[in-house]
């Protein structure tokens, strides 16, 4: 007997269609333009820990292939549209991440990403809140800085500890054989292994002001204490990472520097070197409007709204049946 049957029930797929309709209606009301940027790109995401699928494009069958990469997020292309004057835009579609497979991961998944010119991270959090509240039946969502979150659940502030202390603290909670001199590796372990399980008892929380070293494509600004933090936030629902947003970096020189820093880190970790998207840098040089943007996992939103225990239960066919 083959496993031809779907991994989701028809009832869940009906909820899925209703969620898509709700999301499109939400943005239509806000006059945010729907776009669909290419799924295949000549460049790949720079993040060292996000792996792209490679494709071979052949102008003639079987010969002269050219590498393309499946998008891991529509971020670069959407920013090029913003720089071209699109105004507020959203995209809901499939993105692809190689190797990501588990209860909350499927190598292809549906991402909702949107950008609001003129917004900062705080204003965009208001909008994320407005979108998810009716779906999840939530009241207002608490906002806690990354530093306060660590203080609350682990009793220390990441910016106040040395690497050795951080490693010792992590090993108290996590049984792992690992040598790594990047503090962010240890912070991520503590967040995913110690804090997230405790957030499972918290309906919803925005974590804000990430360490500057984890800015990704967010602006870095000074917080009230005069320390550099990333204008980045994440939304956790019952301990599940649901959305990641930035007050977007608009400085093209800094953008180019970060792309090259990612490439260098890939090199030192022995990860594949892939073409960096210089078109993104050029778009920023031409002028990306001051804006905030966020990406949200739609499958996870449906998991949370329908009490599913695995992502397979909310998508028609998980990758083992695809």
């Amino acid at each position: 007997m083959s496993d031809w049957q779907p991994s989701a029930t028809i009832e869940r797929l009906t909820q899925r269609a209703a969620l898509f309709a709700y999301i499109r209606h939400f943005f239509q009301q806000l006059n945010v333009l729907e776009v669909d940027t290419p799924v295949m790109s000549q460049c790949a995401v720079s993040d060292p820990f996000i792996d792209s699928f490679e494709l071979d494009y052949s102008p003639v069958v079987g010969i002269d292939t050219q590498k393309y990469y499946l998008q891991t997020s529509p971020e670069y292309a959407m920013k090029r549209l913003l720089a071209a004057g699109s105004g507020a835009i959203y995209q809901m579609g499939k993105v692809f991440r190689n190797g990501e497979c588990g209860r909350r991961h499927n190598p292809e998944f549906t991402m909702l990403e949107w950008y609001q010119p003129g917004y900062d991270d705080q204003q965009l959090m208001d909008e994320v809140e407005a979108l998810v509240q009716p779906v999840l039946g939530l009241t207002s969502i608490e906002r806690v800085t990354y530093s306060d979150l660590f203080m609350r659940y682990l009793g220390f502030r990441p910016e106040q500890v040395e690497l050795a202390e951080l490693v010792a603290e992590t090993k108290k909670h996590v049984d792992i054989e690992l040598e790594d001199d990047d503090p962010d590796t240890w912070l991520n372990l503590l967040l995913s292994h110690v804090i997230e399980p405790q957030l499972a008892h918290v309906d919803a929380i925005f974590v804000t002001d990430y360490p500057a070293s984890q800015a990704a494509l967010a602006k870095v600004r000074l917080n009230g204490a005069g320390e550099q933090v990333a204008a980045r936030f994440e939304l956790f629902i019952k301990g599940v990472e649901l959305a990641n947003g930035y007050h977007e970096l608009t400085d093209h020189q800094e953008q180019a520097r970060r792309l090259r820093a990612d490439q260098a880190q890939r090199g030192s970790l022995g990860l594949p070197q892939r073409p960096l998207d210089d078109r993104l840098v050029d778009a920023l040089a031409a002028g990306l409007p001051d804006c905030a943007g966020v990406a949200l996992g739609v499958d996870r939103l449906l998991m949370l709204a329908s009490d599913a225990t695995s992502i397979a239960e909310v998508i028609p066919f998980d990758h083992t049946r695809a």
């Binding site: 993040d47 820990f49 996000i50 190797g99 990501e100 497979c101 588990g102 209860r103 909350r104 991961h105 996590v174 049984d175 792992i176 054989e177 690992l178 962010d184 590796t185 991520n188 372990l189 967040l191 995913s192 292994h193 984890q214 990704a216 994440e234 990472e241 990641n244």
Partner: protein
């Protein structure tokens, strides 16, 4: 011995950790959107029974444990060890208290069980999902009460005590689910 890479990990896989054979009870892929991927595994040490969580780097590999599950018949208890026989070779192995702890309440002579061997030594014994055991002691059955609720304790031939319906009598043979320790039906 073969190695398993973290991307092959799955429930039930037997691996060597710090010199002891361990079984994977739960395997979870952990990856923050922007961070490194890890595999968090709940492990049970098959020697000590200890259950704990260990985290592996993506691509990290561990040695497979030379562990084999075999079907054997329970023979007897000599006051120290429980003896099991391979029905094909008639070879016998003796298992200690620690290895039989989960199976002990359900061990009846000549019943088939699954014995986990590590380097030829029994380290765990699993009873069949269902066993049939005689009631050696219980309050007298209530006549006519065949369907209504209500239960009472009954001691079985192995010494295990289970809740049974009121109509069950001493001397009857019952079918028990060893995974839950619950009465299923008359045998």
């Amino acid at each position: 011995m073969a190695n398993f890479s973290s991307n092959q990990f799955k429930n039930g896989m037997k691996v060597m950790i710090d010199g002891d054979p361990c079984s994977m009870v739960d395997v979870e892929f952990v990856k923050p959107g922007k961070g490194q991927a890890f595999t968090r595994v709940k492990l049970r040490n098959l020697m000590s029974g200890r259950i704990w969580e260990r985290t592996f780097k993506s691509g990290e590999s561990v040695e497979a444990a030379d562990v084999m599950d075999t079907t054997m018949e329970y023979s007897y208890y000599d006051g120290e060890l429980w003896y099991f026989m391979d029905p094909n070779t008639f070879e016998q192995v003796g298992a200690d208290e620690n290895a039989v702890s989960d199976a002990k309440p359900w061990l009846k002579e000549q019943d088939s069980v699954t014995v986990t061997l590590f380097n030829g030594n029994p380290i765990a014994v699993m009873p069949a999902n269902f066993v049939e055991l005689e009631v050696v002691e219980t309050d007298p059955g209530l006549k006519g009460d065949t369907a209504q609720g209500g239960s009472k304790p009954a001691t079985l031939a192995t010494g295990a005590i289970v809740r049974v319906p009121l109509f069950i009598n001493q001397g009857e043979v019952l079918k028990i689910d060893t995974r839950t320790g619950e009465y299923v039906s008359r045998a």
